[in-house]
Amino acid sequence: MDDLIIEFITETNESLDELDMDIVNLEKNPNDKDLLGKIFRLMHTIKGTCGFLSLPRLEKVAHHAENVLGRFRDGDLEVTAEYVTLIFESIDQIKFIVSEIEEKGSEPEGDDSDLIAKLDAAYEGKSLSDTTSCTDSEEEKEEKSSDDQSLESEASEKEIVVDVKEKDIAPGDATLDELEAAFAAAPGMEGIVNPADLEKEKKEKEKEKEKEKEKKEEAKAKAPAPPPLPKKEAEKPTKKPKTPPSQTLRVNVDVLEDLMTMVSELVLTRNQLLQITRAEGDTPFSAPLQRLNYVVSELQEGVMKTRMQPIGNAWSKLPRIIRDLSIELNKKINLEMRGQDTELDRQVLEMIKDPLTHMVRNSGDHGIEMPAERLAAGKPETGTILLEAYHEGGHIVIKISDDGKGLAEDKIKEKIIANGLATPEELEDMSSQQIQQFIFKAGFSTAEKVTSVSGRGVGMDVVRTNIEKIGGAIELKSVEGQGSVFTIKIPLTLAIVHALIVESSGEKFAIPQLAVKELVMVSAHGDNSIEYIKGSPVFRLRDRLLPLILLNEVLGLEKNVSLICEKDGNDDEDSKDSNFDEQNNVSKDDYIYDESKDHGKDAKKCNGNNDNKNHYIVVADVGGYEFGIIVDKVFDTEEIVVKPVAGILKNLELFSGNTILGDGSVIMILDPNGIANTSGSIDNNDLANNEHIEKQHEADSDKKTSLLLFTAGDSTPKAVPLSLISRLENVKSDDIEYSSGQMLVQYRETLMPLVPFSSNIKIDNDKDYPVLVFADKVQSMGIIVDEIIDIIEEKIDIQLGSSKCGLLGSAIINGQATDVVDIAHFLNNINNDWFKDHDDTPFGEGENAAKAGKTKKKILLVDDSPFFRNMLTPLLSVAGYEVTTLEGPTSALKLREEGVNFDIIISDIEMPDMNGFEFAQHVNSEGSQWIDTPMVALSSHATPKDIERGMSVGFTNYVAKFDKDTLLNTISQTLMDE
């Protein structure tokens, strides 16, 4: 039998049993509103559920009974003894049907038209005797109870009939069968010859002839216990024992809850014991402890299981909701559910039930378009809502996706402005991700009209709150026109959580694993280091800027000395006044971003730590907002039982609780949400901050390059694009060693060649020298300079060319004549050996380059800036390509006419006579021999619009300038694709 039906029966029986208690009172006090209300509710529930479970007979009885009861309840109708009898009759009838369903799994055959007729009559307020000839039910029933014996036999006789019929209308059969059954059940089906039908027919005839007698019989069969004598009810089970109930036991949740708490404590104690014995080595306790360990684990699992329920339980009502919704809204919606069996804690399940229902409803109501709209948009007429649940590392992920219209950003914007949540200017700067987040705000609904299902604007914020209450997180991704995906991540259970134990300033803390996305180690000598923007630490994680929070700082612990960054002052005037006009020298170095231009000079790059201490960044994810928490040490993960913090400490929003670890020590549990809030990094308006920063930076630095200024040899400041430098290091002169005349320093267990920038740099003893480290994945080299002055954002406009090796020329930077350093020259010439050594395992992907080594791929690089040409040429040739550089498209097109071919063309976008777009159009014009040559655009203007334009004119790829890794990857990728 269907689980749902079993549940329904259990519940109905329970309610019916409860009614039995009260029903006596109804006789004494027929107008007891409370009791009538109770019966009414029961009828209502039964009716509602029956419709869902397709139990038409029961539904009908319940429905008619409900009508009558409704009138009683509202006081429209006086409850007379006659009516009380009728109510009893209905209840008994329901009991009978329910017990039949319980026994056989489906509704018994039969007809309740008499009862219904009576109920209808009662509804209209007529006396029952007017409609039926059952004038004295009282008497009849008296009689009935006297000959129960014979009733039983009659009832069983009827059951046989029913049994035969059963086969025809077994649930789950095709609807055709059901129809047939319905036909068979309908009166006056004399034509059909079938043993069961014959039986039936006979009854039918009897009924017609002796309606009264029939009635009595029916009543007897249906209601073995006489309604007016409820005391008889108690006897019923003894006479006709019910089939043993299903193998379940209803237990109060509180009992389970207590059990769970005890088990949690037991688990903790076991953990402590294990930890002690581990330290002791072999003791007589080891073996029994091992057993205890095993048993406790089993017990924990078992108790957890009692609380686990398949998520399908929370979903069971959804198909119906969607069905009704699609009818009501005239939409075609298909609800697909995957992973119903995924089990999760009952407590969690209860908490997410309503949010889920709400969200699915939302998807159907707001997400899926009308069929016509869908067709017009080229989508299938039927919209699909996909509900998925699966386990993912200790938590459960629930995804609700629809292929509807997605979130209408314009509407959200309008609403944001209308509600005064943000100004239009602020919106300008927001990413769509940020704008979408607004739907989680209170009172925010963009539905054009409030339907009966949704659109009241009390939705998503409640959903979010509910989910966060149980330590979960909700994310939203939506593409206008393509649909939305909501991803909910919730813990498996609330009682025991996995936590990562970390240490900061010598104190240990636990971070719930759910919030932890990954761990990054930052070592003093690693390629990756923590960088600072006006004192705020950030970290570049796979080309994304991760805001960092120093745990010891937010916790007010002793500051971490090793993270102090070196600072220089440079208070010169801002670059805004300079009239540099070169278009190409544009930086995309996100990490130098600063909120306001005026503070651009405060941006610093730090060389990480000065000692050998490593740090860890715990990358936390709070509702889609990622940030890093810097800690000193990371230990293992532990199962912990979250205990609330003492009242005195309740106001500390950084902690979600505390717990006792295996070693018996108390540890505070950090609340990533609270950390984000405290540090002010997660303004709700400011979600998806990263994108925000990047975007703004893009605008700010449009024509600028981040430059590192330093002096070397003479007093003239030198500038080098910061992005080319991996790190800045301080090298002690004592550490500098010599090998075959080459200056070396031991660095991360390898030797790094050092080159003084100028021969004027003298290496004295006992002195620290700043070293600019250039590195790729394989090896690094350092250039020794005198002093690092500053990092600035500036346009580079080389005004005077230079004949001097290693300099590209001079430019006005920071209001001062500055030498622009040709690092490529340094890499290429000053330290030839290094490049030679790595000719076959060069930058980027050694594999591709090795391949390229055999037949070198030819690259045409078109860029009007000598700086970039000089920059990229060595880079590309080192990577194993044959590079031809040209200063403009015109000369490139000349080469084409000469019949020279290339494997790939890399072109700048902004160039004086012909820009990159035009160039691409030429290259891809019909009849061009280069039409098949892939083109990679190189530009700082990597806005989506530009990229789109670039793609439309024939660029295969779009790469930001100075992003050498991406450039190399893109080239090898593009060549491979070809």
Partner: protein, 155 residues
């Protein structure tokens, strides 16, 4: 709080656990004392009020440790000096009051009880119900609930 002092009729008496902080004797109603502990390992709780020394594990329950010296505005304990703690329950939570020494349980006759002198340090007045005169010394009676409640309020 001095209004709520015990009525001191002639012959009645009460038991107090005598503790010592900065050479001053204090009394805690003995019925409120749950445990007396030696120095325990206390986990520091960052950002907590200064009086909160941290949390400790008392047989599986997490107990908040209160530095009574701080609460009374007394100088910090010499780090070499051992400390003791008295565990009390307040609003269904356990607190461990960190003090210098624990003495005997003494029976004080109500007739020796005095309300707080008007000149007493206001901080002390707040947490004390009154003073018992003994032959050689004066014992300040600590009102546990106001001692702990005001920590909460101060936060």
């Amino acid at each position: 709080m001095s209004e709520e002092t015990q009525t001191h009729t002639t012959d009645q008496s009460k038991d107090f656990l005598i503790i010592e902080i900065d050479n001053q004797k204090f009394g805690i109603p003995v019925l409120q004392v749950q445990d007396v502990l030696r120095e325990q390992e206390v986990t520091h709780v960052p950002l907590a009020p200064p009086e909160v020394l941290g949390s400790l594990n008392l047989r599986g329950r997490i107990v908040t440790a209160i530095d009574v010296r701080k609460r009374l505005g007394l100088p910090d304990r010499n780090p070499d000096m051992p400390s003791m703690s008295v565990v009390v329950e307040h609003k269904e939570e356990l607190f461990s009051l960190i003090i210098d020494k624990v003495g005997d349980v003494l029976n004080f006759k109500d007739k020796y009880f005095e309300k707080n002198p008007g000149t007493l340090d206001p901080l002390w007045k707040e947490i004390s119900t009154g003073i018992y005169q003994q032959d050689d010394t004066l014992v300040v009676i600590i009102d546990v609930s106001s001692l702990l409640e005001n920590v909460e309020r101060k936060k």
